[in-house]
Symmetry: C2
Subunit: 211 residues, 2 copies
């Protein structure tokens, strides 16, 4: 399992400082939606410049205007960009086409996506599917990603999991969803010692995966 560090609700300079502290332990760096909406595409450029060898995920959460938004993200240096699974399929088609042209990846965020739509989305074999319990669901409805109810996505597709993931929930997540990417935000960024927290995540994953 790779670790994607999600950076949200901070200034760009703070995001870079945070990521510097933990870069040895994380694989991918996510420019959170809040950074993109607050600071624009420069947030993606600055993170890519700071971490040129890392995979940079632009959590742009596209719902429409996919060509414009995805080209903008990839031109800014993103390696992966996100589209909402609840979007019209024509939008996701465009994301896939733009990503293929740039030799980049699409992550489809399954937040609140219906079972019917999830079945239709499985035709996007090159996408990464993100099982996502949102911030609002975590903070207001006291939910977290327990990784139990999305087995329809187990058939050779690339899976990511996001939403309240902690060191303690990794083992169950591995046993149920077995994601290729775990997206971790607050459990690292809000830890007293982010560097130590990220290191523990990395070590735990090595143990779980028997390496």
């Amino acid at each position: 399992m790779k670790i994607q560090l999600a950076l949200d609700r901070v200034k760009i300079a703070e995001a870079i400082n945070l990521a510097k502290k933990v870069e040895d332990s994380v694989d991918w760096i996510e420019v959170g939606t809040s950074l993109i909406k607050e600071f624009g595409v420069t947030s993606i450029k600055e993170l890519k410049n700071a971490f040129p060898t890392k995979t940079i995920v632009a959590d742009v959460k596209t719902n429409d205007n996919a060509r414009y938004e995805f080209e903008m993200c990839f031109e800014a240096g993103a390696d992966v960009a996100t589209v909402m699974g609840v979007s019209p399929l024509v939008t996701i088609d465009i994301c896939m086409e733009v990503a293929a042209r740039y030799n980049k990846k699409v992550m489809i965020d399954l937040l609140n996506t219906s079972e019917q739509q999830k079945l239709e989305l499985q035709k996007y074999k090159d996408a990464i599917f993100c099982l996502h319990v949102s911030k609002d669901q975590q903070e207001e409805a006291n939910m977290a990603n327990r990784g139990t109810d999305d087995n329809i996505f187990s058939d050779g597709l690339q899976i990511a999991a996001a939403g309240g993931i902690t060191l303690e929930s990794l083992e169950q997540l591995k046993a149920t969803v077995n994601p290729e990417v775990v997206i971790v935000g607050g459990a690292i960024t809000k830890a007293g010692n982010p560097s130590e927290a990220a290191f523990q995540f990395k070590q735990k994953i090595l143990v779980i995966e028997g390496k």
Copy 2:
């Protein structure tokens, strides 16, 4: 019917120039999603500064992290901010609460929202409901807002309509959806003479409404 001018896929200075040309004929000015994602919250601030007496709509298309995004938009000067109707209800609850606190408005974008969810959304009596055919649906699937299939939203709720609206489609839109707000982008911004195009929209609405 009010006219909401949608500004998208341009630099902030161009957006302001465009809006200056047509401000006498339009009621609300929308800072398009593409401006927010490309330039950040400064796009909202600059449009509000340029048009302090206009209603400024921040098309932030929130899917999550509603408190942060809506406070950001309202602090920047937006009078209305948008949330996706496909979002978890907890997210829309937060948008309504933040808007009430700021004495501002929520526009719920119904793009790709299920009939079941639309029924649930009608509890948000203070929201504006936007019937939306997306850019991608227009450009790739050759659709436009023909205003025929959303009669469940006719019962005293505030309605907006967006997506490929032209001078020619106004009359049918009035007869079917009867929106309080028509959201017009390209039919004004891409016209040879935007000022004249906006004036024609305004005149046509006066005729349709018998004023």
